[in-house]
């Protein structure tokens, strides 16, 4: 090893005290948690670690059995969902013309409200774990699909030129380049998917399963068993964190570096005239809707499903527009929907802003970063929804409770995404600011926030379906208003016309808002961070 260019490993710093900050912070958090729980004792809100541990030890058998059941459903959902994502991404890659259609369909399915699809799946499957597995799969496939799409396009053109200089075609490209180039993105997608699968399985169990964590959670919530609720949430969080960590470990073992940018927006429509730029997505949207209607009608007819609960597109149209009570139906649906939006929207904005602001604050005071990032990653995977009844118990059934739940659900993913984005500010850019001894605030606004924008917008987009999920679940389980409660009520009274109408309305709204957020994202990024747009 005498070559002049030998890469010398960075010399270890001279003997320093080992870094205790992280373990100390975690211990501090746990103690703070216990103290807070003691402070709030008797108010039925929060259990401390000691009570939770006691509960877990006292109910070890029950918890283990439930955990295994849910884990199995989540694992199957994880598998199927990710396989579906791989299949979709592959088709989108091989038939690029179909990609907008596939992405549109994938988005609409992802935006289906779990609260309503759960009961319908329950009717379809009868007993068993079918609904849990399906909901878990629905909860994961979209993020993985997006990661794969970005990854499959992330390779620089010269790698493909290289393949072509040897006269090889697209198959070689796929097998020798794309699959490997995508791997880090795929692993990052799986990491996000693992907690989502667990949450999906639990929500699936809310809808009348016999066994599992979701069943215990419902029981604990209904009985206002605070210790049990927090114990279940803790177990779910621990499982999610473990899965997240394990997948990260596997990624590092495979030598894959976490990708710089996740879930980038769809490619720009370039310099085409404005009319075309608006007309094309519109046509694509209509085409997608048409395909959805066809798929919907076709699958229901093909499977010969009973029209009583398996409503067809025509039934929903009749229910909302041509029936005798159509006007009343619309009024009921829209007023419930309005109530939900009026809570989901402030919660969404609050969670987003607080997450970004917290990330910036952490960067200004970097000592916080080493301790806050792992904690935020951990809390991100907590199925906060299971604590919804307790939050409403603390904050009341009014607006504050639901808004808080939505905000909390969005806060942590946004915080993590923004921190990652801030951390990825190019070193040279920071060096330039350093060389002028710029203040941390100047550095933040001049270099780091622009670098954070793509991550911020990506999470703003992904947070839209999450906000609807949080709001409707909170309404369903706890507050009893809005469209969440309407869906739960109609599911239990077999008013399937209203249920299907609610699904259509929610899925369409979430998809549209998602696309709008994507447009906004594109507008801002092309102005402030054009280099971050995936071409």
């Amino acid at each position: 090893m005498t070559s002049p260019g030998l890469a010398v490993p960075r010399a270890a710093a001279p003997t320093r005290w080992p870094d205790f900050s992280r373990p100390l912070a975690i211990i501090g958090m746990v103690i703070g948690w216990e103290l807070l729980a003691r402070l709030l004792a008797g108010s039925y809100i929060l259990s401390g670690p000691i009570d939770i541990l006691a509960y877990l030890l006292g109910n070890a058998g029950l918890m283990t059995r439930a955990l295994l059941v849910t884990l199995e459903a989540a694992a199957w959902g994880f598998l199927w969902g990710n396989l579906a994502a791989c299949g979709l991404a592959l088709v989108a890659l091989l038939l690029p013309r179909l990609q907008p259609l596939i992405s549109g369909l994938a988005l609409i399915f992802f935006c289906l409200p779990l609260v309503a699809t759960g009961p319908i799946l329950r009717v379809l499957y009868g007993t068993g774990t079918g609904p849990q597995v399906t909901l878990a799969a629905l909860a994961v496939y979209y993020t993985t699909y997006l990661c794969l799409l970005v990854g499959l396009r992330a390779a620089p053109a010269s790698w493909f030129d290289l393949v072509r200089t040897y006269g090889r075609g697209r198959m070689t490209e796929l097998l020798r380049i794309r699959i490997f180039a995508t791997l880090p993105y795929f692993l990052a997608g799986l990491q996000i998917a693992a907690p989502a699968a667990f949450l999906g399985a639990m929500v699936g169990e809310f809808t009348g399963a016999e066994r599992g964590m979701g069943v215990l959670a419902i029981r604990a919530m209904r009985g206002l068993d605070v210790d049990a609720t927090w114990a279940l949430a803790s177990v779910a969080a621990a499982v999610s964190m473990l899965a997240y960590g394990a997948l990260g470990w596997i990624g590092r073992r495979l030598g894959s570096v976490p990708p710089a940018l996740l879930m980038a927006p769809p490619p720009a429509s370039g310099r085409s005239p404005l009319g075309l730029r608006l007309a094309l997505p519109l046509a694509m949207g209509l085409l997608t809707l048409g395909v959805v209607v066809l798929l919907w009608q076709g699958s229901m007819d093909g499977l010969g499903l009973n029209r009583f609960f398996a409503k067809r597109p025509g039934d929903v149209f009749a229910f909302l527009f041509t029936d005798a009570q159509a006007a009343a139906n619309r009024a009921t649906l829209l007023s419930a929907f309005g109530a939900t939006i009026s809570l989901a929207l402030p919660g969404y904005l609050l969670g987003l802003m607080l997450g970004a602001a917290m990330a910036c604050a952490i960067v200004i005071a970097p000592a916080l970063s080493t301790t806050m990032l792992p904690i935020a990653i951990a809390l991100r995977s907590v199925p906060i929804i299971t604590t919804a009844p307790l939050i409403t118990l603390a904050l009341g059934r009014g607006a504050a409770g639901t808004i808080t739940i939505v905000a909390v659900m969005i806060f942590f993913p946004t915080l993590v995404a923004c921190l990652e984005g801030l951390r990825r500010t190019p070193g040279q850019v920071i060096d330039v600011f350093e060389s002028y001894a710029a203040s941390p605030l100047r550095r933040l606004t001049g270099a780091q926030i622009p670098a954070m924008l793509p991550a911020f917008f990506a999470s703003a987009r992904m947070a839209i379906p999450a906000a609807f999920l949080a709001a409707t679940t909170a309404e369903w389980l706890a507050t009893g208003g809005g469209i969440g409660s309407l869906m739960a009520m109609t599911a239990s009274t077999s008013a399937y016309g209203m249920l299907w109408s609610a699904i259509v309305l929610l899925a369409l709204t979430a998809s549209l808002l998602y696309l709008l957020a994507g447009q906004l994202e594109h507008l801002v990024l092309s102005r402030f961070a054009s280099e971050q747009l995936v071409k």
Partner: protein, 267 residues
């Protein structure tokens, strides 16, 4: 596939009426104006010219990675595609284009795999050592410096022993000293077999030292403004730099570059 490329004599490259315009009528950008060029078999030609004048574009047209707007390219009477299909050419890209998940060895071996050739660990290691990367066979590109990456990319080009080498600023990120050493050592590889080589470089010294002929391009849209033969004895070495004719030729090249630049500025 077809016959082993190693058995063939190096090809002559003919470009006829070759031009390339990027973009459509609205935002059209002429990258290379019509050129007729013949690159003689087994000789080395250096292309120099201001940045953005279409040198890379010309190489890509010859390799058939880009289709010409007008004109055609023939490599030894064949189409570029036919030559590529039997691994008859290799190209070094301006950025080294190594695959980050493969080691240096894996990246060099990739050319054999893409060229449907039997794996040949010995040849791979020999070339890695030739470009001065001994001890880094198992390193990944991220652990190498820019210049080391470019050297690995050159090893990848040479391992298939192609008849035509297209090198796009292969030593761009290499320090002067290593560059001089590579300039001495590497050409021996392709000179011995008489590989037809087309080399883009920004260094006039390098252009003259390595080539039999220097083509000077004007600014965009690129066209050849001077065709300067390099009649220096081979094999060349550091001593060639002292050759009385060496300075003369480099001055000629600089003058041609300057002229093209001034003609441009006058417009």
């Amino acid at each position: 596939m077809a016959a082993e490329p190693r058995d063939r004599p190096p090809p002559e490259v003919r470009c006829q009426g070759l031009a390339k315009t990027y973009g459509d009528a609205g935002g059209a950008l002429m990258a290379l104006s019509t050129t007729d060029l013949v690159f003689e078999a087994g000789r080395t030609t250096a292309l120099v010219g201001p940045s953005g004048c279409g040198k890379s574009t010309l190489l890509r047209l010859i390799a058939g990675l880009e289709s010409p707007t007008t004109g055609s390219v023939e490599i030894g009477g064949e189409s570029p595609l036919a030559v590529r299909k039997r691994a008859g050419l290799a190209m070094a890209f301006q950025d080294a284009s190594l695959l980050p998940w493969r080691t240096v060895r894996g990246n060099v071996a990739l050319a054999l795999q893409l060229g449907r050739m039997p794996s040949d660990g010995e040849a791979v290691d020999r070339l890695i050592s030739l470009v001065g990367l001994d001890g880094f066979e198992d390193s990944r590109p991220s652990q190498l410096s820019g210049g080391m990456r470019q050297r690995a990319a050159i090893a990848r080009c040479l391992v298939t022993e192609p008849g035509l080498l297209l090198l796009d600023e292969p030593f761009g990120a290499v320090d002067e000293l290593t560059r001089l050493r590579l300039n001495q050592d590497l050409p021996r590889l392709w000179e011995k077999r008489g590989t037809t080589t087309i080399l883009v470089t920004h260094s006039i010294t390098e252009a003259v030292l390595l080539s039999d002929r220097v083509l000077v391009f004007s600014a965009r849209p690129g066209r050849v403004v001077a065709d300067i033969p390099v009649a220096l004895p081979r094999p060349r070495s550091r001593d060639s730099l002292e050759h009385p004719r060496f300075r003369m030729i480099t001055d000629q090249v600089s003058a041609a570059l300057m002229e093209g630049w001034q003609a441009d500025a006058a417009q």
